[in-house]
Symmetry: C2
Subunit: 492 residues, 2 copies
């Protein structure tokens, strides 16, 4: 397979797919819309999981595991939620195969093993979890209940894309139960905050926090808080959502608690999730025409050392010097790889590591050793520097921090240059067509206007941003009164 | 709910189920045969995962993720494997629900959204993975391929039991590809060894390593290596298996590589797995009539400190002293909980921690503080000791190691007392009926004899043990020649 990537400017979508396949992150599987996450891609997911899991646990959440299946009779209990997902449900109807009498060696579904109550593969687990919580919650002493699960879910999407939209994906879903509305609201916002912190600190991906408009809310939620990122092609990516579910699920599943005052009350709920879609966001935020660019905090390998040598003897000497650096870096918690494969030349290795987004590459040759130097290349800027071997460990540790920061700064610069304040619908259409990014515009608050704008421009309301200095104005489409600007964008 | 447990001697099976529910490990769900793993039980699984994952990675394996679904057309490619699992397959036949025209608010499966090639929920992933490996393996340079995945699988069992046999369970499945038969054999045995080491070192559960007889092998395997543990009721538990798959899957999915000599060769395969079933084994190996007993290395909370106090003032003083111990233990990597809940009395807390199997309990009262002592209770022996507060940290660290060792010693004693060498079939029946445990007996090597013994006694061949000093003899049932003793037992 050619290592040469399509350029972003030529075909952004093709570039994205090629990076994923060529950098060995994932590939399409034999199952329609489902992907195989390859070891290199999966390690990024493991690093994301570790960081998020710690943040969840530090805020008092515990992990548990609930069934993959939701009986149809439970699934339909919360009507809005059921309606929202009904068209994307994979359904188990039978529990046995048998030999095909007409076709030796082949199997058919055994018609006698039909389920009475069909099983939905969870597209999200509110129904099965709230049906369980009914047995766990009796008194105010049982609250709050703060639970998360790491799981696979299935949503039968018609148009799929590696990481961004797949029929099966991996995610975490938090499901919490609270005694009061305020507490549930605080939880929902706290988790949005945690997602934002994770995105910015670990992924180096700036996000805008806000609330969804009614038509963009999670099915069954009263409020959906979102973090929205901007990709390099000017399209927005919803990167994580946290929902205030009110008492909808408590009522659907009859989950009540006895208050301190001895009264029976319905419980208040939240749910929140991020998924392997984040990896898509990570790729599209930082990568370039040479391949993947990874922030050091999530890179499976942070530093690679490539020996430049002729013959075993030189390699041995280089190895001895490199090994000191490898050990010193590992002691500092840096993941580092010494690449002594003799089946590839240094040039091929350089290209491979560029494609795979290893943040720092160190080259060590015979001449370097004579000069007591090494060559250090950073992936983000592609700059190279000759560094004294004596200081290389501290230099690299410092450089990894600089790269992490530089990626964030670059991304937030791009993002901020792509928030355009717009005051007429002509300007709106012009920006969507020619510039892309977020449009900050007044909206009259109606679903009709939102739908009409989407129809005309394909832009949707990404969020009603939080903590923005807002002034009243006139809706960009209808001229009706508006209390605040909202953010529009075309989105993944 | 009453905290009082059924005694093991009264009803072992009821005792087992009660422990799981009362210690908050898991419960049955609304989905037939599927369990909910509660936070306390899930934390044990997380600790198992962390230890195993490290062992896998240290031996060069990487994690990846493959689809939940296996298209029926792929599933049937390796016939023996397909035949072995066909009767337990949950099958997705449709991908959409729609409103029930006859029943407003209800949903039905949309008959127009029927899949042409039905999707099997993976009961194991050889088929989907080997179909993928076909694209990953071209040359000897691509080998060995050492991959593991942590996943959920579904086997539609008719009789289920929490942790031991559930329709959905969590597991890891390793799938490796090798250039030679020897290498694959070595891998399969290495993983059996890792499982044995994990079981004995972390779970304090002694195991016997051996090979399965042909009829007990994994469907599609040429050899199945197993670790077999003994439960307190005299029944064996297959705790982990590692399979040498020969070239069966390579041939079914046409996976070949070009050797150094330029020849096209089929690849050699292994697969290996352990599951949440291990938690069932953990419970049944150590627990007693008072509740769960957990080895310190897998206990979610290793030490609990219970203050005995009257009034806020006393609690405050105790807290100050306890906090020093808590911090010192945490510094040593010990998980410790100071239980200052005022909604429960100390006696109730003691009972709860006994039931939940916390290895070490420290009680601190006013009088203790005056004497500069604390009371330390160990869960395994239920012994209590008064210890000077000045040495309690070192004492507890040492005690945790002692408990870990004591649990293993106790279990291996019991196990060794329950391996009975048997030389007649009358004795065989007597031991199975009245003593239980493993029976070491000669077997003529035929499936007929194996089946007949199972029919007559419900005992199966657990394994042909490795590294046992073996002598020839006569089959315990037929009197025919036998080359070695094998281990029989009734099993979970």
């Amino acid at each position: 397979m050619s290592k040469k990537l399509t350029k972003r400017a030529e075909d952004y979508s093709k570039w994205y797919n090629e990076i994923i396949v060529k950098a060995d992150l994932a590939e399409n599987s034999a199952v329609r819309g489902c992907m195989v996450i390859k070891p290199y891609g999966f390690t990024i997911w493991e690093k994301m999981q570790a960081a998020l899991d710690l943040m969840f646990k530090e805020t008092g959440h515990q992990n548990a595991y609930f069934p993959l299946f939701v009986p149809k009779s439970l699934f339909e209990a919360e009507e809005k939620n059921a309606e929202g997902f009904a068209k994307e449900c994979a359904v188990v109807t039978h529990y046995r195969l048998k030999n095909d009498p007409n076709n030796p060696g082949k199997l058919i579904v055994d018609p006698e093993a039909k389920l009475e109550d069909e099983l939905i593969i969870r597209p999200t687990s509110e129904a099965i979890i709230w049906n369980t919580y009914k047995g766990w919650i009796q008194s105010y002493r049982d609250l709050p209940l703060l639970i998360n699960q790491w799981a696979n879910v299935v949503r039968w999407e018609m148009r799929t894309r590696l990481f961004l939209r797949t029929a099966e994906f991996l995610w975490q879903e938090g499901h919490t139960a609270h005694a009061t509305k305020d507490e549930a609201m605080t939880e929902a916002k706290q988790m949005q905050e945690i997602y934002a912190e994770f995105a910015e600190t670990f992924m180096a991906m700036p996000v805008i926090k806000g609330a969804k408009s009614e038509s963009e809310r999670f099915a069954g939620a009263l409020e959906t808080y979102t973090i929205e990122a901007l990709m390099q092609d000017g399209k927005a990516l919803q990167a994580g959502t946290s929902h205030f579910l009110g008492q909808n699920f408590a009522k659907a599943f009859d989950v009540k608690y006895t208050s301190k005052e001895g009264k029976q009350e319905f419980v208040w709920a939240t749910s929140w999730g991020v998924s392997t879609r984040l990896i898509g966001g990570l790729i599209m935020t930082h990568s370039d025409d040479f391949g993947l660019v990874l922030p050091p905090k999530l890179a499976p390998i942070q530093v690679v050392i490539v020996p430049i040598y002729k013959g075993e003897e030189q390699l041995k000497v280089i190895f001895e010097h490199a090994d000191v650096i490898v050990k010193a870096l590992k002691d500092k918690g840096i993941s580092v790889n010494f690449d002594d494969r003799d089946t590839f030349r240094p040039g091929a290795k350089f290209a491979e590591y560029e494609l795979k987004g290893i943040p720092v590459r160190i080259a060590m040759g015979n001449r370097d050793l004579q000069n007591n130097t090494v060559e250090v290349a950073r992936r983000d800027t592609l700059e190279k520097q000759i560094i004294s071997k004596d200081v290389v460990v501290d230099f690299v540790i410092d450089l990894l921090e600089k790269i992490q920061k530089n990626l964030f700064d670059k991304a937030i610069n791009y993002r901020d240059q792509h928030i355009t304040e717009v005051n007429s619908f002509d300007q709106f259409k012009d920006v969507i067509k020619n510039k892309g990014g977020f449009i900050s515009a007044h909206w009259d608050g109606t679903k009709e206007t939102e739908d009409r704008i989407k129809e005309l421009t394909k832009a949707t309301i990404r969020c009603i941003p939080e903590n923005w200095d807002q002034q009243k104005g006139r809706c960009v489409l209808t001229g009706k009164e508006s209390v605040a600007r909202v953010l529009f964008a075309k989105a993944y």
